[in-house]
């Protein structure tokens, strides 16, 4: 319920959208699934991004580029999805909610509005976010992990997300009270195979810090190593050692640290289990 909202704008070009967003109390609107509903006494105007032509998806030589207004439902329908990390992105999108949500929630809105499984998968896959800004700097491309830094800036929009398309092996593990609940912890591991070894290891986790993070200590144990049991175990221990998880109704700090260990091990095992023989 918006108490103070005066204006609803649907600009047709990006520059105009950014100018509108520079006004005090103006906010971008994706699908609205998170923004509309709760009592909101701040928003003065909403800038609906659906007129900007950002509903596209495009395969480029090194990545899949998704416009910020692409819905998660349309994303699920893309045949390219299977090329990405053995389908892990599709699974994470599926976890983001029921069909009614996926039909409306957008890529851009989900990165801001809280879609933890999706954000974790994107982080593990090395996705980059392109932001449009009103100030002189114009467009910036940032890592998923830097997104938060820009969110606070006024007149900044997520324009698109680029997901590298390359042969990565992935594992995705989560623990929740019920299958459709938000996870207490979710871990997505992604890595490339080089003979018996793995490289470019990226392990991302939700539930171990206020936002999804990379488990760099675990990644380091695995980088350029053969993912045998002892190594995976060391990586799992390193993951648990590096985090100080927050506590909430889905899990205490202690339990989440334990899950960091178990789920890192399982996610890496699952990814390594997909290694082809050479």
């Amino acid at each position: 319920m918006f108490l103070r909202m005066q204006a609803f704008e649907r600009p047709t070009d990006l520059a105009e959208a950014l100018r509108l967003l520079a006004r005090p109390g103006y906010r971008p609107l994706g699908g609205g699934t998170a923004a509309v509903g709760p009592v909101d006494a701040e928003t003065a105007g909403l800038v609906d991004l659906s007129g900007l032509g950002l509903q596209y998806s495009r395969m480029e030589h090194d990545g899949l580029v998704l416009g910020a207004m692409m819905t998660l439902g349309d994303l699920l329908g893309l045949p390219e999805l299977l090329l990405i990390g053995g389908g892990v992105l599709g699974k994470a999108v599926e976890r983001t909610g029921p069909p009614t949500l996926l039909n409306r929630a957008t890529m851009g809105g989900s990165l801001v509005g809280g879609a933890p499984d999706l954000a974790t998968a994107l982080l593990a896959l090395g996705a980059q976010v392109t932001l449009a800004r009103l100030d002189a700097a114009g467009q910036v491309v940032c890592e998923m992990s830097d997104l938060e830094r820009y969110e606070a800036e006024p007149a900044t929009l997520i324009e698109s997300v680029r997901i590298p398309v390359k042969p990565v092996l992935t594992g995705y593990e989560r623990v929740a009270r019920t299958p459709r609940d938000l996870p207490a912890v979710a871990v997505v591991a992604a890595m490339e195979q080089d003979g018996q070894f793995v490289q470019n290891v990226r392990i991302a986790a939700y539930g171990l810090a206020p936002a999804p993070i990379r488990l760099k200590a675990a990644e380091e144990e695995l980088e350029d190593a053969a993912p045998i049991e002892a190594v995976i175990q060391r990586a799992a221990e390193a993951a648990a050692a590096m985090v100080t998880p927050p506590a909430d109704l889905r899990g205490s700090s202690e339990y989440r640290r334990h899950l960091a260990r178990v789920l890192t091990r399982r996610a890496v095992e699952a990814a390594a289990g997909r290694m082809g023989r050479m």
């Binding site: 609803f8 009614t100 039909n103 609940d181």
Partner: protein
């Protein structure tokens, strides 16, 4: 601004404000099928199709979809013909309260438009956007699959109601064990039944699948104001100063009420028979708040937004008092006193100076002596959480003054007659100055056996002389309505090596929160149900119910049973284990049998003296046999994986059927010119299908089809009194009244027909809409009606009858669970649940199975995921469906519901209750299965991953 929408193929150009949701606009345009159950896209009740895709509309601005094509359930009917989806939902108990039904149908339509041959998993995924609190999803999923076949042109006989499997009819005695004092065969075969025992279509389903305006909110009054409540942000505080002048000055605000503006009248919100056995500890508005969410002030304004804005302008200065949340702490000397005001009264051990809302002691035999005789004594402590009913329709009422200046209260309640009587003194009116209308209800489960908003709306209407609508938001429903009492249960049981119980003791500390509604009776039910299922010469039940500063508990389906059975059924599993017996065999050895005397009924009434009960029917052996086979009990020691371990568990349960000597229902029947009948009942159908059951019972007696019975329920001006829909009483009590009234009417019909056919009235039989003489001659019911109303000795064929009972024949159930435990993470996956229930004679199997499936699903939430969680200041941190987890269609384990029919001599045609017992057995069966899987006992629910992991971890 004007936008264009194509709704169900027609062009609309509504004027919309920028902040208005599509839900608001669609309802304003008259599309009442689009329901409101939350504001955050989480319940799914507001789902429509936008350009062919299902979408929630409470979190969608109308402006966002300007120009779009919208489809609602109203558009599905074609020239009076139901769409196959509507038809298939209508045929079964896929529709219970019907509040979620339009949304489910639309989600299914989108699926079938795209995929004519969906798998069950695909159907479940499509339906997963809608929370159904009533059905357990099984019948809706089946309805969609059947409709898909219809649309493909594959089904044969699409017309007839499918008769579900899952009823084992009574064979001869139908009851296990000893001898009943009556002849059950005689009860079951009194007459060959035509309508009773059939899964006839629900009488109200057509209006629900088409989304016609039937619910409280589906009505407009000119000049209606929107009310909102200001809720306390503090758990325990005095209101030092409250100033509403700024709020009153806001344009569009018509009234602001604080405790200074209304008379102070103590009452109980518990909708119970007079004199209510709950303390009178509540005021409409008070100068003290006792939980986060307690009412501070109320506003009525022209729009919901203005009302919300006004709330923010009310200035309140609180003096914070020490708050207490733990019931055991609350009972200690020196604890802050929650009800220190002088104008509180109560019964049943009530002592507000010690924070005691109720105290109960019941004993048979001598427990100390029994413990001394035992070979083994086991003593354990169990804990059960606070959980909420969460009907998808929240509390809502609309009040107005009618043309006679009487207060009309249209409200979603289970207890219309209690509402009228209880709010009258609070509003300074006589009951006769109030008319309470109960329209269709979108689920209740006990939380609407509580008078939570009608008084405030009434005050606001009396103040403004305008119609007022007060609806709780989902968040308010969580924070400020009612819940299941959390309890700490201490069990001590003595047993001989041969498995004979020598002593059985339960000591409970319950938490009623800030107010004591149902504090005595819920807790006495914990003892009288759970502690009475097993024969033992020495039984003790002691309980104290404490006031604390948590949101109040109250009535919730099961009413103390689920708490008690979690403790008893886990405990006896451990006892069986200690004496080396199979837990199922142990239960069958000790449980009540036909002919036994209920061990606690006389010692434990509901706030009054109890009445001795003899068990006249008990189908537990048959229930156990069915479940044992279905769950493959004898394979329970199959080896399971190293990290994922499988196990099976069992639990028994017993409930009651109505409160003996208390519950009363009445019905009146009147015959119409065409041979149809109006049946007026005070009973309230909260989605259980009781209107249909009433129609079936009347139709059975009158020899007609249920469609010929027009059921109306309920309206305090029109229908006879009924205590209301609670305590599993409707079929037994109100149904009993219907049968009596129908028998009276049948006699009057026979008298008229006898004169017409010139035969003695006694020789006439009512069947197939006619009255037959022995020689085969007959007259139609319409001819009888026309003669009696228009031609000879004119009179209205009509009757009114009541029923009350001192007997409360218990239903029984056996629940089995198959679970998998991940021993590294503690995650528990329930693979399969089987519940077999002896509910006496079954009037409508589809509806009864629907009750069991829905109850099992709520009980599954109680077992593994549902819990109201608070921060250290008593603020609930999960007041929404994202964080408070209710099971969705695609999360469900396989569920098997089953009925064992027995014959009981008391109820009409031998019925017993079915609605509450499914709540009792799931949690203990799952906990016992976890033990079977891992060797670890769980003493606290819900069985969340972390809780199970901790227990496993401690063992290591």
């Amino acid at each position: 601004m004007r936008i264009e929408l194509k709704i169900n193929g027609r062009r609309f150009t509504p004027e919309v404000a920028p902040q208005e949701t599509l839900l608001t606009v669609l309802r304003r345009e008259g599309f009442y099928s689009v329901k409101h159950g939350c504001d955050t896209g989480e319940c799914g009740a507001c789902t429509v199709l936008i350009n062919g895709k299902p979408t929630t509309t409470c979190n969608l601005l109308a402006m966002q979809v300007a120009g779009a094509a919208v489809e609602t359930v109203e558009g599905l009917e074609e020239s009076g013909e139901l769409h196959p989806l509507q038809e298939r939902f209508a045929q079964t108990a896929a529709v219970q309260c019907g509040f979620c039904t339009p949304a489910m149908i639309m989600a299914a339509k989108a699926l079938l438009d795209e995929n004519p041959t969906p798998t069950e998993a695909e159907v479940r995924r499509a339906l997963s956007s809608t929370i159904c609190r009533c059905t357990g999803y099984k019948q809706p999923v089946e309805a969609v699959l059947r409709a898909a076949a219809d649309l493909r042109g594959e089904s044969a006989g699409a017309g007839a109601e499918p008769q579900p499997e899952g009823v084992t009819p009574a064979e001869g005695t139908g009851a296990g064990g000893g001898a009943p004092s009556h002849d059950p065969a005689a009860v079951l075969t009194r007459t060959p039944l035509k309508v009773v025992g059939k899964s006839v279509r629900k009488v109200d389903n057509n209006k629900l699948v088409t989304g016609r305006p039937a619910f409280t909110d589906d009505i407009e009054h000119r000049g209606m104001l929107h009310a909102r409540l200001l809720l306390s942000p503090h758990a325990h505080a005095l209101i030092k100063r409250i100033d509403a002048s700024k709020a009153r000055a806001l344009p569009g605000v018509h009234a602001v009420l604080t405790h200074q503006d209304i008379p102070r009248v103590s009452f109980t919100t518990a909708g119970q028979t007079w004199p209510e056995p709950s303390p009178y500890d509540t005021r409409s508005l008070d100068n003290k708040v006792r939980f986060v969410g307690d009412r501070v002030a109320a506003v009525a304004a022209e729009t919901p937004e203005i009302a919300e804005e006004a709330l923010r302008l009310i200035e309140v200065e609180y003096e914070l008092l020490p708050a207490i949340f733990d019931p055991e702490e609350a009972l200690k000397p020196g604890a802050p006193i929650i009800h220190d005001e002088p104008d509180c009264t109560g019964i049943g051990g009530y002592d507000a100076t010690k924070n005691i809302a109720a105290e109960i002691h019941a004993q048979v035999g001598n427990v100390e002596q029994g413990l001394a005789e035992a070979d083994i004594v086991i003593q354990r402590t169990y804990k059960v959480p606070q959980v909420q009913q969460t009907p998808i329709e929240t509390h809502i009422c609309i009040t107005r003054l009618d043309e006679n200046n009487r207060l009309e209260v249209r409200t979603s309640t289970q207890v219309p007659f209690h509402v009228r009587r209880i709010i009258a003194p609070v509003l300074g009116l006589r009951p006769s100055q109030i008319r309470v209308i109960k329209p269709r209800i979108g689920g209740g489960f006990g939380v609407k056996q509580e008078i939570l908003i009608e008084d405030i709306a009434g005050h606001l209407t009396l103040k403004t002389r305008r119609p007022v609508k007060l609806e709780l938001t989902r968040e308010e429903e969580f924070r400020a309505s009612r819940s299941r009492h959390p309890q700490i249960l201490r069990m001590r049981t003595g047993v001989k090596r041969d498995g004979t119980l020598t002593a059985h003791e339960m000591v409970v500390v319950a938490n009623t929160g800030g107010y004591g509604s149902h504090a005595l009776t819920v807790q006495s039910n914990t003892g009288s149900k759970a502690m009475a299922l097993y024969n033992c010469p020495n039984i003790r039940f002691d309980c104290k119910t404490a006031y604390t500063n948590l949101p109040p508990a109250g009535a919730f389906r099961g009413y103390g049973g689920p708490q008690g059975f979690f403790a008893v059924e886990c405990h006896l599993d451990e006892v069986a284990n200690a004496v080396g017996m199979d837990p199922l065999a142990f239960r069958l050895k000790n449980c009540l049998k036909t002919g036994d005397i209920h061990p606690l009924a006389a010692a434990l009434g509901e706030g009054r003296e109890g009445f001795e009960q003899r068990i006249e029917s008990c189908g537990l052996p048959e229930c156990a046999e069915f479940g044992k086979t279905e769950i493959k009990w004898d394979d329970m020691h199959v080896p399971s994986g190293l990290t994922k371990r499988r196990g099976l568990g069992v639990a028994f349960a017993m409930h009651g059927t109505a409160i003996p000597g208390v519950d009363m229902g009445a019905a009146s029947i009147k015959m119409n010119d065409d041979g149809s009948f109006n049946l007026l009942v005070g009973a309230t159908d909260l989605g259980t299908g009781s209107d249909t059951i009433m129609a079936q019972l009347a139709a059975e007696v009158l020899g007609i089809k249920p469609e010929e019975v027009l059921v109306y329920s309920s309206d305090t001006d029109m229908t006879p009194f009924d205590t209301g829909a609670y305590a599993s009483s409707t079929t037994y009590i109100s149904g009993g009244a219907v049968v009596r009234a129908a028998e009276d009417v049948a006699g009057q019909i026979q008298a008229v027909a006898g004169a017409m056919l010139d035969v003695p009235a006694d020789d006439l039989e009512l069947r197939d809409g006619r009255v037959y003489a022995n020689d085969g001659s007959s007259v139609t019911l319409s001819e009888v009606a026309l003669r009696s109303l228009h031609q000879h000795d004119q009179h209205q064929i009509a009757a009114i009858a009541s029923k009350m009972s001192y007997d409360s024949p218990p239903p029984f159930a056996a629940t089995f669970a198959d679970v998998e435990v991940d021993v590294e993470t503690g995650e528990v996956q329930v693979k399969k649940l089987v519940m077999s229930v002896d509910a006496g004679r079954i009037v409508n199997p589809a509806l009864a199975l629907g009750q069991i499936e829905g109850g099992m699903t709520q009980a599954l939430g109680y077992a593994v995921s549902e819990e109201m969680v608070y921060d250290e200041k008593g603020l609930m941190v999960n007041p929404n469906f994202r964080d408070y987890r209710v099971f969705l269609a695609d999360e469900m384990p396989e569920i098997v519901a089953h009925l064992v029919e027995t014959a009981d001599p008391f109820g009409p045609y031998g019925v017993k209750a079915v609605a509450e017992i499914p709540m009792d057995g799931v949690a203990p069966a799952v906990a016992n299965a976890i033990y079977a899987a891992t060797g670890v006992r769980m003493y606290e629910i819900p069985l969340t991953p972390e809780r199970v992991w901790k227990a496993l971890h401690q063992k290591e």
